[in-house]
């Protein structure tokens, strides 16, 4: 008996410690459930279907997603950002349009979002990707306003823009941005409506043989610009890895590389396995520039990706110089910067 007592004492001690601490937890959270009545200003519905009540003006914002950080700059809110996603130095647009962001605390990535760091900044509003549903719920429990967004395609992007605009009282600018995008999209449609569609192969970021399937945003980007994604028959995955033979069968008119690829245009043009492709023979290989933003994803400036693609596919109706002008105009209007037109390449 004595031996058993002595032996179990330590276990019991530790268990008591745990239970005591948990006990304080239970009693504490029970006390703080009273709500103070406040006049409601507006309710935002986010992409997780949650309703967020914004009852006072949003002064400080944490953005855990590069897309919404860029959007905040476009909405003129760069001075309200107090925390943002990790590795901001990887995005040239920040250095150009809002260099002070690079010194702000980082709150993590989609894989490991740091709730404590976010909460420590005590922001009026937190914007994260809807993939972080659990973190959203926890932060809500801690008493913070969180908007979860999922800008996966054009429509969801527009909803995101409106959501954030409404929450931050920048509805006017938000609507202006959407209107601009729609106008340009209509312009493209008009320009290419009588043109023959060109076959386009889109090479992925880490691997040339990784291409966008019909489910991806990039697919619609190509379609809008008057092209046809040769890999549109693939629909069971997002990024699909194909073989050289498959690419030869596709035989695209144009080969496009997404921004920031690990390989260069030269690599593609000099690859002995690709010499038979029409696109390579005619040197119709173009790489989307990465010196500003990655225009191949649904971001606020995403229309520029479509414009770039239109110019590449149908230069005769939309010259590259016209594209440069449009890009310059966009960034001047919404990001308040004057980009170097000569740096825009293809």
């Amino acid at each position: 008996m004595y031996k058993i007592c002595k032996g179990s004492m330590k276990l019991i001690l530790v268990l008591i410690l745990i239970i005591a601490l948990l006990g304080t937890a239970c009693s504490k959270t029970a006390q703080n459930d009273e709500q103070i009545e406040k006049p409601t200003s507006m309710v935002i519905k986010d992409h997780l279907g949650r309703e967020i009540e914004i009852d006072k003006p949003v002064e400080t914002i944490v953005s855990g997603y590069y897309i919404t950080t860029s959007l905040l700059i476009a909405l003129g809110l760069k001075d309200n950002i107090v925390g943002l996603e990790s590795k901001p130095e990887m995005r040239p647009i920040y250095s150009l349009a809002a260099p002070e962001l690079l010194d702000l605390p980082s709150v993590g990535t989609l894989k490991e979002f740091n709730i404590e760091a976010t909460v420590a900044l005590n922001p009026d509003l937190i914007i994260v990707s809807s993939r972080l549903k659990d973190s959203v719920e926890t932060m809500e429990k801690l008493g913070f306003k969180v908007i979860a967004v999922n800008p996966e395609d054009e429509q969801l992007l527009n909803e995101t823009i409106l959501m954030v605009g409404k929450a931050t009282n920048r509805t006017e600018v938000a609507e202006k941005l959407i209107e601009y995008n729609n106008n340009k999209a209509n312009m493209i449609k008009d320009l290419v409506k009588d043109k023959e569609r060109k076959d386009v192969y889109l090479g992925g970021n880490s691997n040339f043989l990784l291409t966008a399937s019909s489910k991806m945003y990039q697919n619609s980007l190509i379609e809008l610009a008057g092209g046809r994604n040769v890999a549109e028959d693939i629909d069971d995955t997002y990024w699909a890895e194909i073989s050289y033979e498959q690419l030869i069968i596709y035989n695209p008119d144009i080969i496009v590389g997404v921004p920031s690829t690990t390989y260069t245009k030269e690599d593609v043009l000099t690859d002995s396995r690709l010499v038979s492709l029409d696109a390579v023979k005619n040197k119709d290989v173009y790489f989307m520039p990465a010196n500003l933003e990655n225009w191949d994803s649904p971001i606020p400036s995403g229309i520029l990706g479509s414009l770039w693609m239109t110019s590449v596919l149908h230069e005769d109706v939309y010259s590259f110089d016209e594209f440069k002008e449009d890009a310059f105009e966009f960034y001047k209007e919404f990001y308040n910067i004057e980009i170097d037109k000569d740096e825009l390449s293809k």
């Binding site: 008996m1 004595y2 031996k3 058993i4 032996g7």
Partner: protein, 254 residues
């Protein structure tokens, strides 16, 4: 009293031993002799419940112990294995203490009383100064003695010994078997030991059973033996041998 009746057993469908019948009385040490592979260990495995026999009974004081629970059986029969299997550092006293297991309830651990009993056994074996030492650092002979101590703590009526002398030097061999004999006679326990060396059997054991090709070839008490009988039996087993008599005991020489 231990009665083995018609035991027939083996592994994987084969029969290794059959028609095993014999009786052991309290206070006696019985040797089971036989060449390698004749089934001595098989017999021990059946007796301590590790191997289910195809046929037969093992009766202890009227009960067939093959039909009772492991724990019950372990309180009646204990086994001192040929080789110990301790791989982790363990205090000598704790090694002996494991012998108390059959006497513990399902979730029980040894109490102070149990510990004292283990200390008593170490004292009896004159090993109490090693109580706190690491078992793995003892000599082979000392280790065997401690394992014997563990078996003693089990305090069973029947004690089985699987070639307890195998890793011991000459002196320790005799010392151990001598001690075994002492305990058996003072506590009136039944002892069954498998051996290779017939001389040890002739010297210390009260009975000898010889197993040949899976069956009992001969069984006889060692008291008042006829030389020609020994000669006949053992030459079949060991080849050309001569029997010497020394101080009332017989010794086999080649």
């Amino acid at each position: 009293m231990l009665r083995i009746e018609d035991i027939c057993a083996g592994y994987n469908g084969r029969t290794v031993i059959e028609d095993i019948n014999f009786v052991c009385r309290p206070g006696e040490l019985t040797a089971v002799l036989g060449l390698n592979g004749t089934g001595k260990t098989t017999l021990l495995n059946v007796l301590c419940g590790l191997l289910k026999p195809k046929k037969g009974k093992v009766i202890v004081n009227g009960h067939d112990i093959l039909k009772i629970s492991e724990r019950e059986r372990a309180r009646n029969i204990s086994l001192m294995p040929q080789r110990h299997s301790i791989i982790y550092d363990t205090k000598v006293i704790d090694v002996v203490l494991t012998g108390i297991t059959p006497h513990l309830a399902f979730f029980e651990t040894p109490s102070k009383t149990h510990k004292e009993a283990a200390e008593d056994i170490l004292r009896m074996l004159k090993m109490e100064q090693y109580s706190e030492k690491n078992f793995l650092e003892l000599s082979e002979g000392q280790k065997q003695l401690i394992i014997f101590g563990r078996t003693l703590l089990q305090n069973s009526e029947i004690m089985l010994f699987d070639e307890p002398d195998s890793s011991l030097d000459y002196r320790n061999k005799h010392m151990l078997i001598d001690k075994i004999k002492d305990v058996l006679s003072s506590d009136q326990k039944i002892g069954l030991v498998t051996l290779h060396d017939p001389n040890l059997a002739l010297c210390y054991c009260d009975n000898i059973i010889i197993i040949w090709e899976g069956t009992i070839y001969a069984k006889f008490p060692t008291k008042d033996l006829d030389v020609s009988y020994i000669n006949r039996i053992f030459s079949k087993l060991l080849g050309n041998v001569s029997i010497l008599c020394h101080k009332d005991k017989y010794v086999i020489a080649r």
